[in-house]
């Protein structure tokens, strides 16, 4: 799909092998993440040295919990949106921080011992990942460690109080509130770092984070409380039983994350179909979707909206498959607006048949509508973004010349009276200027 006025689309036609469409994993590098990592590292170093000098209290339990944290870290999983979690490890470490007694014997370990056990366990669990060539996500690990450290600092002094020892409900109330705060700490740390790295808006990032981390956080917190009470009822020997319910949750989440990744790959394959079939330039769908997502983020879309935008942008050209053959000469720009609308409609029908999210179909259906059409309701924001991103890519193609990009943005800006949403074009301009700053004249 392309813009309505006749402009030649730039790009290398007829290339069959699409470029490797891999999203680069996001690497934290900002000051925020460095501070978090340094704080956690320092804390662990102090804790380990202190524990070595003083000697571990109840060393057998410490060993069991170190092992549990290590196993949990080994079984960490990737969540949608390039996130990482280690539910089993985190639950076990939190349980260690909140431990009241094992069987009849009260737990007497110190705050620093909890930190040392967690730090050592996490390191041991991360080693096999490093050996297998999967880089450690230090920021995530640091955030988890700081949350555990907070729970320990707040709860260890309380653990010997009669109110906590004698009445399980006061113990539970204290634990629940501390766990909630610990969860909030990780969410805030992740928000600060993500908002910095991805240039998203604070509040949007925070609510996204709450939505994604919420269910898992509840499961982790409840499991930690379960382990604490179960240790009292069963002793540490039966620790294997505590792990089973956590494994169920873990397996469910892993499968969910797995199918989501596969789904995105399938949508990409669908996008590649139009390219291999010769309907659009190689790499067009991928470039449009990246640009659209960046613009959407600039405009403050939530993660769910960005996901829908990404799907829609990847397959925005799918309606062209209904054409018997590619448009001759590759100049899809020569298609009159009416036909464009028809292709968009066909694409939307295909997507509806697929029972993908309904909003994706709607976004694709409205992508060729003009921004200001007195006869119709304005198209959804995502459609307007795709329309601008698509026009930009059709005019610039795979060219990396910043002068050309700036000229095209200027051209789109001239069309904002009717065709394009001025806010979208302004955001697009900012994104392009950031990506390829014009050299000083």
């Amino acid at each position: 799909m392309s813009i309505s006025q006749g402009r030649v689309s730039v790009g290398e036609r007829g290339r069959i092998v699409a470029p490797r469409l891999r999203t680069r994993p996001w690497r934290p590098g900002g000051t925020g993440s460095r501070v978090v990592i340094a704080a956690a590292g320092l804390l662990v170093a102090v804790a380990v040295v202190h524990t070595l000098l003083v000697g571990a209290v109840q060393p057998r339990w410490a060993l069991v919990f170190t092992a549990l944290v290590a196993v949990g870290e080994l079984l960490r999983l990737n969540l949608p949106g390039d996130r990482e979690a280690a539910p089993i490890g985190t639950a076990c470490a939190l349980a260690n921080a909140l431990l009241i007694r094992v069987g009849p014997i009260p737990a007497r370990h110190s705050v620093l011992q909890v930190v040392a056990v967690t730090g050592i366990g996490m390191t041991i669990g991360a080693l096999p990942h490093l050996a297998a060539g999967r880089p450690a996500r230090l920021t995530s690990m640091a955030a988890r460690l700081l949350a555990v450290a907070f729970a320990a600092f707040a709860f260890r002094p309380l653990a010997a109080r009669p109110a906590v020892i004698e009445h399980w409900w006061t113990a539970f109330a204290v634990m629940a509130s501390l766990l909630a705060v610990a969860w909030l700490i990780t969410v805030v740390i992740e928000t600060v770092i993500r908002a910095g790295a991805l240039r998203t808006r604070w509040w949007v990032t925070f609510t996204d984070e709450v939505r994604v981390q919420g269910p898992l956080g509840v499961a982790i917190g409840a499991s930690a409380a379960l382990i604490v009470f179960a240790a009292e009822a069963m002793g540490l020997v039966a620790v294997a039983v505590f792990i089973a319910p956590l494994l169920v949750t873990q397996v469910a989440f892993r499968r969910y994350a797995g199918i989501r990744a596969t789904y995105l790959q399938t949508v990409r394959a669908l996008a590649r179909v139009t390219e291999i079939g010769g309907y659009v330039d190689a790499g067009h769908s991928d470039r449009v979707s990246r640009l659209a997502v960046t613009v959407g983020r600039e405009l403050g879309l939530t993660e769910q909206q960005l996901l829908e935008l990404q799907y829609a942008a990847l397959i925005h050209d799918i309606g062209q498959l209904s054409l018997p053959d590619p448009i001759p000469g590759g100049a899809t720009v020569l298609v009159p607006p009416e036909e464009q609308r028809q292709i968009a409609e066909l694409g939307a029908e295909v997507i509806e048949q697929a029972q993908m999210l309904d909003s994706v179909a709607e976004i694709v259906r409205r992508q060729s509508d003009a921004y200001r059409d007195p006869a119709a309701t304005p198209p959804p924001l995502s459609s307007r973004i795709i329309r601008a991103a698509n026009a930009f890519d059709d005019l610039v193609g795979s060219s990396v010349n910043p002068g050309k990009a700036a000229a095209v943005v200027e051209r789109l800006r001239l069309d904002t009276s009717a065709e394009y949403d001025p806010h979208v074009v302004a955001a697009l301009g900012r994104v392009i200027a950031r990506r390829s700053p014009l050299p000083p004249p």
Partner: protein, 442 residues
């Protein structure tokens, strides 16, 4: 469950009667009724919100956790009583007979688990600290008995009401990790009872429900994913009118073969996708070549022969089993080594590819082409047999033939070419009767 056969009526009646007998015979000495009530409510909550698994009429719920906790806390008869609550599930859908069956089945499973628990020396009542870790052995035995009894009775009733096939399919579902995980929740509830009382049930439900939330999300994504795969197949078929429905049927045929030779369920699933996508590479072949009438030139023929590789290019990054990819790439290889694109022979050809080749050719022969009508199934079978050993793997030909004899084969409706559309291909690359051609000199 539809209309019930006499055998099914009898079976459900026997199960219900046995459950009533077990509970009526008792004994329920000194049963803690309040504890029983809490467990029954817990079980009802678990049962009322099940997530469905593959065979659509079997619901899967964490109810195990509640019945197994009852086994420990209130003994076999009490557990059976908790199990009957399944009949009152708040979920809409089950018919009266299904409810009767579920209640009776859960009661009997729980009773069996309770008996096994007692035989293995498990102590009934709230476990004390001294009960651990010795209680774990009898508990695992009880959990195993519960799961086996549950699966056995459900398989039998499905066999009686829906044909033996789906019953066998359920038995093939291996007892998966979630089942055992849920069983462990049961012991956890029982153990926590000594510390936090009935609150244990609530505390344990939280992670359970989060897990179920994730499973529901998974199911949603799975549906969307399969829909997208279907679009991918439709995209292929829009290019070639006469092959409409072909992918779907090849997929079905491949699954029939895979089941007949006893493939594991996850491989069957993979071959289902492979069948749906096997011709996706045709998108990379110009439409005019696909729809050309008359003889193809060497170049055009070469373009067609490239389609398995093109297919691989499109889908290689979708992370399903590598086996499916290998199957798609090699589905036009022949046992005698004269196929394409690599000319592999015999066992060098991946198993998936050999299965796909049989199903592909069979569907091609039994559907209408522009240059000939659909052939009867019997003729197609004869043709498969004729090429068995040279083009096709004999074992898979036998598997398909016997599966088709048993379950039948749904041939496509005769397509009516839309006006203005080209008449269709003069050559079908899938047709085993088409003369074998090799590009270039050999």
């Amino acid at each position: 469950m539809g209309r019930l056969s006499r055998a099914a009526w009898l079976y459900i009646g026997v199960i219900a009667a046995a459950a009533v007998a077990v509970i009526g015979y008792g004994p329920l000495p000194g049963t803690e009724w309040s504890r029983l009530a809490v467990l029954a409510v817990l079980f009802l909550v678990c049962e009322s919100t099940p997530t469905s698994i593959m065979p659509s009429r079997v619901a899967w719920s964490p109810g195990y956790a509640a019945t197994l906790a009852s086994v420990v806390l209130v003994g076999p008869v009490g557990a059976a009583l908790v199990g009957t609550v399944s009949a009152f599930s708040l979920r809409r859908g089950p018919t009266i007979m299904q409810r009767v069956f579920n209640g009776g089945m859960y009661a009997l499973s729980a009773y069996a688990a309770g008996r096994v628990f007692l035989v293995l020396g498990g102590p009934v009542g709230i476990p004390t600290r001294d009960s651990f870790p010795l209680i774990i052995g009898p508990f695992v035995g009880a959990a195993a008995a519960h799961i086996v009894a549950n699966y056995g009775m459900v398989s039998l009733v499905l066999g009686l009401t829906a044909g033996r096939d789906s019953g066998r399919r359920l038995l093939n579902l291996r007892l998966s990790l979630p089942d055992l995980g849920y069983a462990a929740f049961g012991l956890l509830i029982a153990a926590l009872w000594s510390v936090v009382g009935a609150f244990a049930a609530i505390l344990v439900l939280i992670p359970l429900f989060v897990a179920r939330w994730a499973i529901a999300q998974f199911a949603d994504q799975q549906r969307a994913y399969e829909g997208t795969l279907r679009v991918l197949c439709q995209a292929v078929e829009t290019k070639d009118f006469y092959t409409r429905g072909h992918s779907e049927r090849v997929s079905r045929g491949s699954v029939m073969i895979a089941r007949a030779i006893g493939m594991r369920p996850e491989r069957v699933e993979a071959i289902r996708f492979a069948g749906m996508l096997h011709d996706v590479g045709k998108l990379g072949v110009p439409t005019k070549v696909l729809q050309k009438t008359g003889k193809l030139t060497e170049e055009e023929y070469a373009a067609i022969q490239l389609h398995p590789m093109r297919g691989l290019e499109i889908i290689k990054e979708i992370g399903f089993l590598d086996e499916a990819l290998a199957g798609i790439m090699h589905h036009h290889e022949r046992i005698d080594g004269c196929g394409y694109p690599m000319g592999l022979a015999g066992d060098e050809i991946p198993e998936f590819a050999r299965v796909l080749a049989v199903a592909d050719a069979f569907d091609c022969m039994t559907s209408t082409r522009s240059y000939r009508g659909a052939r009867p199934v019997a003729d197609a079978v004869a043709e498969l047999r004729r090429c068995s050993g040279t083009q096709f793997d004999p074992a898979f030909v036998d598997a398909l033939v016997s599966a088709v004899e048993r379950d039948g084969w749904q041939t496509p409706d005769t397509p009516v070419a839309p006006p203005g559309e080209p008449v269709g291909p003069g050559y079908d690359h899938d047709d085993p009767a088409a003369p074998l051609r090799v590009v270039g000199s050999r």
